[in-house]
Symmetry: C2
Subunit: 200 residues, 2 copies
DNA sequence: CCTATTCCACAACGTTTGTTGTGGCACACA
DNA sequence: TGTGTGCCACAACAAACGTTGTGGAATAGG
């Protein structure tokens, strides 16, 4: 039976996420998590008896944290949009640009972990299920996108299209070489928004 | 000292690629490659004494194969464009659409392997160097893009931008859930091309 | 036919892995 | 104070890992 100290569970899952970003999914072992979390060897194995549960726990944890943070960011963005008034399309561009740059710099480690887990999920159904919650986060965050694009006269299919473009650009920026240039990202976002709006 | 039978080397590297796509980078071990290639245990360890060399060999091999195939595809595409005459932009859209659908269906396993290797390359410099040759392939294949976009009056920065969008969309299609819909991919490509052309 | 070099199959090493079992600590309840 | 009832630290196991070394087969040159 899995143990149920919630704080310990989260701390161990956080350590597993850090290892995933640093050493890849292959580096996530019970003992490695024990060492990273500075707990006695055997602790992680008690909380997550199998490796499948360990990786799924890391996925759930990363989804939880990401959901919480992105909800806060979306609220802040919505507040900024309401204060700014017009130019919804321009504001959307700025929102996506900031979001991409942040993801590729400040939160790069987290996204690397997510991509590692996503690839591993191709052959671990439990992991895939745990990781599916991240899609909900994306949909919640794109509520603002819906409104902005509709006000800008974009066709209804534009939002999922823009989400795909955004997700792809995110991967390229996070895994690509070299530093991230904000101006280049803005041009990229402008092209994405313009392309999504042009869809008929 | 590494052994030098070229055919054996390629066959072992091909087996390593297949394992990477099927079981992930973590599944690529000397013994696993031996089993997959149906050679006596120890053979792979003789050809690639360390794991770093084994993974790098897989990366070089996948780059070689991809380079050869994409060169052939580009030649065929260029021939089609010359025969078709006008409507370079429409032809570019069709070219990218076919390329994306093929990548996400027929060649899905290869791209999964490439993404696995790309993430592992974040912490293996030798792998990163071996994988860098894939960028050359991308540049060679986009020679047609340059011409088509220039003829369509796009700004000079449009090509790298389109490459980024294309690469990102590729990842989303390959790793995403569900089957690939050609019509949806075409809409995606149309948005990408339109967005790239709109850049100023 | 003899020799030397190249190539390969296999054994062996110490280490690390996933997983399970066991014993003891601490705290709640009577 | 006595007694359970979670919770956890640790030991132990077989299996698989990366890596290195060794002996033999095959082949080419003289």
């Amino acid at each position: 039976m899995p143990r149920t100290n919630p704080q310990r569970r989260d701390a161990l899952a956080d350590a597993a996420i850090a290892i995933t970003a640093l050493a890849g999914v292959g580096g996530v072992t019970h003992r490695a998590v024990d060492r990273a979390a500075q707990v006695p060897i055997g602790t992680t194995a008690n909380y997550f008896p199998s490796r499948d549960e360990l990786l799924s726990a890391a996925a759930r944890r990363v989804a939880d944290v990401h959901l919480a943070e992105s909800a806060a960011a979306t609220a802040a963005g919505a507040a900024g949009a309401a204060k700014q008034g017009g130019d919804v399309s321009g504001h959307l561009t700025e929102l996506l640009t900031v979001s991409l740059v942040e993801a590729a710099t400040t939160q790069r480690a987290r996204y690397l972990a997510i991509y590692e887990l996503q690839l591993e999920a191709q052959r671990r159904p439990a992991l895939a299920a745990a990781l599916a919650r991240l899609s909900e986060a994306a949909e919640a965050q794109t509520q603002a996108m819906h409104l902005a694009l509709r006000d800008a006269g974009a066709p209804p299919g534009a939002v999922p299209l823009l989400i795909t473009l955004y997700g792809g650009a995110l991967f390229m920026l996070v895994t690509g070489p070299g530093p991230v240039d904000t101006a280049a990202v803005r041009r990229l976002v402008e092209a994405m928004v313009a392309g999504a709006r042009s869809t008929g």
